[in-house]
Structure formats: C-alpha cells, structure tokens
Symmetry: C2
Subunit: 341 residues, 2 copies
Amino acid sequence: MILDERKAQILRAIVEDHVRTGLPVGSRAVARRYKLGISPATIRNEMADLEEMGYLDKPHTSSGRVPSDKGYRFYVDQLLPETGITPEESLFVESLFRSKIRDVVSLLKEVVRAVSEATSYLAFILGPDYETTTFKAIHLLPASFGKALVVIVSDAGFVESCLIDVPPMSREEMEYVSDMLSREICNVSLDKVTDRAHELLHKETSRYAEIIAQVIEFLRNMSSETETERLYMGGTANLLSQPEFRDINKVQDLLLAIENGSLIQNIISRRNRESDPAITIGQENETEVGRDLSIVYGVFKAGKSEGRIGLLGPKRMNYARAVAIVKLCEEKLNEFFSWDE
Amino acid sequence: MILDERKAQILRAIVEDHVRTGLPVGSRAVARRYKLGISPATIRNEMADLEEMGYLDKPHTSSGRVPSDKGYRFYVDQLLPETGITPEESLFVESLFRSKIRDVVSLLKEVVRAVSEATSYLAFILGPDYETTTFKAIHLLPASFGKALVVIVSDAGFVESCLIDVPPMSREEMEYVSDMLSREICNVSLDKVTDRAHELLHKETSRYAEIIAQVIEFLRNMSSETETERLYMGGTANLLSQPEFRDINKVQDLLLAIENGSLIQNIISRRNRESDPAITIGQENETEVGRDLSIVYGVFKAGKSEGRIGLLGPKRMNYARAVAIVKLCEEKLNEFFSWDE
DNA sequence: TTTTAGCACTCCTCACGTTAGAGTGCTAAT
DNA sequence: ATTAGCACTCTAACGTGAGGAGTGCTAAAA
C-alpha cells in the first residue's frame, strides 16, 4: 500500500501532532504548524481521502482526525525518522552496563527501572527461557542436617537454587554426586536433560536415586515455571499520565494484565521478529486491554537462548525514540551476555 | 478514652455499615439495620456527640456520617470481633505451605499472590533484613574461565549469588578458599562479618586477597541493598475497585509509591509491634498517599532476623478479616522458617 | 431528664437546556 | 486542482431546577 507524497506528508503531520498533544488534529492545525504550502481546505479533502482509505479516524462527525491503527502502521513502516535519541541518553544507557553490578538479575532490574524512567513508558525484560538454555554448572552443597542446596547456573549466568532432602553423607560423597550430575546435565538443553537424568535414575538404584529424583523435579519446575517469574517490569505508573487512561476501569484491567504478566506474554510469544525492534500497534495486540497500547520490543541473545526487552506505551507513543532506545539496549544486552566466550 | 456502651454500639454500627457500602451512614439506616431500640432522633443526638468528640466526620453539612481515623482506631482497639475467617479459608492458607515448593522466594511470592487474591487487598511480604541475619554456608564455585560463582545461604534459607573474577586455580584451591571463607563468615551477623573478613584480608596477602575483597564487596552490597529487593507484593489492581480511588491522580501517586516500595517501607520501618498484627490507619501512615489507606501487618521470625507480612487496603477495610488472615500467615511463616532447628 | 416526632433547612446529584467554539463538508469562485 | 466562504454538527462547559437524603432544632411525650 503506497500513498502519494502529499498524503504521506499530511499523515505524518497528523501522527506527530497527535502524539505531541493527544488531541484530534484539525486541518487548520496541520496547515499552520507544518507549512506544506496548501490551504486547510485542500488538506481537508486529503484528510477525507485518508479517512476513507482507513488511515485516519474521527472521534465524531465534526472533530479533527486521529490516526487509526493502520495509520500508525504506515507511519512506523514508512515514515519513521531515524534519529531517535540524543548522545547523552545513549551514554546514560551505556553507563548502566558499565556499573559494577555482578548479579545478572540486579542488572536487568536496574535497566528496566532506568529505561522506564527515561522514557516514561513501561519497560520490561523477559529473561531467557529455560527450555532452550543449557547449564554450565550444577552443584550440591551441604546446607544443614538432612538438607542440601542444589545450585544451578545457566549459560547466561542466571542462578537458580532449591533445597532438597538428603540422607546423611560425607563431603566426598556429595562431591561425587555433584560431579555425576554435572556430567549428565551440563551443556545439554533442558528438554533433553530430564531424559538423561531419567536414564541416570535407572542406572543409579542406589541411595542417590532419591536425590536425583528431586533434582529432576527441580529442573522440571524450572522449565514449566511460568515466565512471569523471569519478567522484570518497571514504570507502570507512567502509563497513567496518558490521557487515554482517564477511565478507572480501563486502568484496572490494564493493571491486572500487567501484574499477572499476561499482557506482555501474549503479545510477545506469538510473533517472531520481523523487523528488528518489532512493533505491535493497538488491535495487533489481540488482548482487549492492548487496544490502546503499542509495544516495541527486541530480542537479545543470552547464552543458548533468547530474552526480550521492550517498551509498552500508548499507541500515540514516540516510536522513533522507543525504537532507538530498544535497539540500543538490545545491543548492550547482547554484549553483556557474551562475557562468556 | 472510653465511650459509653450506647455510643460504642452506634460507632460500631456506623463503621460496619460504612465498610460494607462505602457510603456515609445516616441515622435512619443505623436505626433500621441495627435494632438498638432507640429512634433515629436519639441516634442523631449521639452521632452529633460522637462527631464533636472526633470519632465521626461529615462529608458535608447534610449528609450521613463517616468514621474518622480516630473512629476507626477506637473500633479496631475496642470493638473488633474475634472471628474473622472461615475454616475453609484457614485451610486454604495452610495448603499453600504444604505445597511442594522448596524455594523460599517462590513460596513467598505464592503466598502473596494467594492472600491478595483471597482478600482483594494488596498483600506484601518484606523479606528478613540481611543486617541482623547470619549465614549458614558460603561456597565458591568454578563458573567459567576466570570467573567463579559465590553462593551464600542465609540462616532462613535465602540464597544469594554473584560472579567474581578469580585467577586460574585448581578445584582443591577453590575448596580451600571456600572453607576459609566459611570459617570466618558462617554464624556471624552481617555487620560483624565485614570486620572479620577485613582481618582475614590482612592476614592473607597472598593471591586470595583479591577474591576476599570481592566477597566483602558482595556482602556489603547485600546489606546496603534497599529492601525493595526483598519486597514481594501482589494485588495492586485490587485497590482500584475501592471507590476512594476514582481519582486518577491519586491512583498514579499510589502506584508510584507502591512500585518503588516507599509506601510500605516508610510505614513499616518506624513502628515496632505494639499489638500483634499492628495496624496503622489513614493519617497514622504519615505518607500523603497513605491517608486513605490502612495497613495491617505482622512480624515473623526467619532465622536470626525478622520479616514482615501484611495487607494494605482502604481505610474502610474489613479489619477483623485482615487481622485474622495476617495472624494466620504469621504463624505459618514462623513454622515454615523453623524447619532448621 | 431523656426520648421522640415533626419540620424547616442544607446540600448533593442528576437531568436538562443553553451557549461557545472548533472543525467539518459542501458549494461556488479562482 | 485549489481555495474561500458558510451552514451545519458535535462536544465541552456552565447554569438551572427538581428530587431526595439527612440533618439540627424545637416542642411534646415518656
């Protein structure tokens, strides 16, 4: 679908004006603020055309125009300016990664906090899924009488742990079991790990069987665990400053969807990256509460599997800026998670 | 401050009616719904007295009455019915703790989620602070070239970890360092640990010095880390169904205060348990956004230090129920965290 | 002395009507 | 093909007035 130059210009003007003010845009405003060398009447005619083609909507018969989802889509695909952020902002983001945080989770939380603050949208990071990840280390550690701590480290540096029951055993024995588990589990993706562990379980009919069974249970929990557990979000309150959320009920639905993670999950699980930061606009989000929202997100590689970082804002968000920031974070996260190689 | 029997009865009726409906309560309503054997006119007189004494407020000259903070306070201190929850609910809470969750953090998250859902208030758990805690184990594990994972287990079963740089070293060496750290760090409270570790640092001028320094850094981070990191919350959206949050701006302030944890922290850090589940009502919360809220929270023992569990709801919350549920959770958490002894 | 009925009064809520203003679509002129 | 002019539409804001709930006060009853 291609639009003639002038229509495209008018569409751009309307989108940008609407993003700025949040109000419907009239023909006079377009003529005044963006001097295209044509009169309001001409613009009105073009706007009528654009509306008929589905790029614009009218809240009511005699109001200005508002971009439709299709209008935003065209804007995003064809008209998006390249430059989105200032060098200072870019430096700010970089500084996050330079800070002396050694704990992966803390870093992700910090990034989410900072980015949401900088953009005043909702920022989120979805940790790499454990299905496709591999593990670098597993250890069995004495914790207290009858208990041991299982610690497992993913290739991306995420650490998970749980307590299991163990029979009284010497340190050497525990190391033996640790090593045995390491051999079977390390560098194998999680979906295959349980099979291999089961095999091990058959071979080991000894006293360690109980331990292995518990570890399997643990691994299974990890992979089945809803991804909400590794979803970091920040800046929920930001969304409320948007005029489209003056209605309390909408806000409540939104909060609910945010809190249980269903909003972000639904949207992100479907679609694979078509464009680099992927963008879904309004109705494209499928969820009812997503109708007024847009999501810009990118994928980063962490170990063998992938994580996602994104921004969630009103449909009339600053797409250029959002795209630039997401892109930047993506890059930096990729760098960060390649510390290993 | 003591109230004569009849005034107390009327106050109770007003509080309970207002909690139920959210509307100002008139004299007729009190007379009709709670048959105290007196006429509306008498009740009006008593209500005028109660208002003058500060137990009741009037939204405007010719409306019914609403309990003031002082009114709620009296109700909570003197009039609170004992029985607050049904046996089913109590069983439900217990079942949470019986489930096969072995990871402390997951359990806490699950409890928060379930309790917030059951009460439709906001539920929160503040993990035990690391200042006063002691540690049961510390381990140094090989992670990848030049890196090691430090894993530390608190007496309550919380696990923290971070990656540090290490020179190439054999497994035996690493165990040696692990043991050395264990001797110095285990069973000592965190504020003393850093001193002892520093001593160690002086003795060990060898190649391990760098490692010890990093561990000290890690421990210091843990204790300085804002408690937000160990604050689990759920049910934010619940608060919005309360009519007192029809105003978007209030909601936004509230969300902001919830998200950065300042609301709950401010309130909880001050006061030490005076009554078992402690209750702070409206203005007692000091924060501006806390004016319309009440908090009911209790303390549980986890290892050497304490955590807190509570509910945050509108001032016109069901206090009896909230108290009962908090009390129950407190008990169960205490039980849970005594697995060790 | 305490309680109650009666009544005038206050204030809120809601529905309705009116007005001002912004923006459109259409027509006729350029 | 573009533009000026104009009638028309719709919203947002304000004002008005009726209806209703609840009060405080006064005077009578217990």
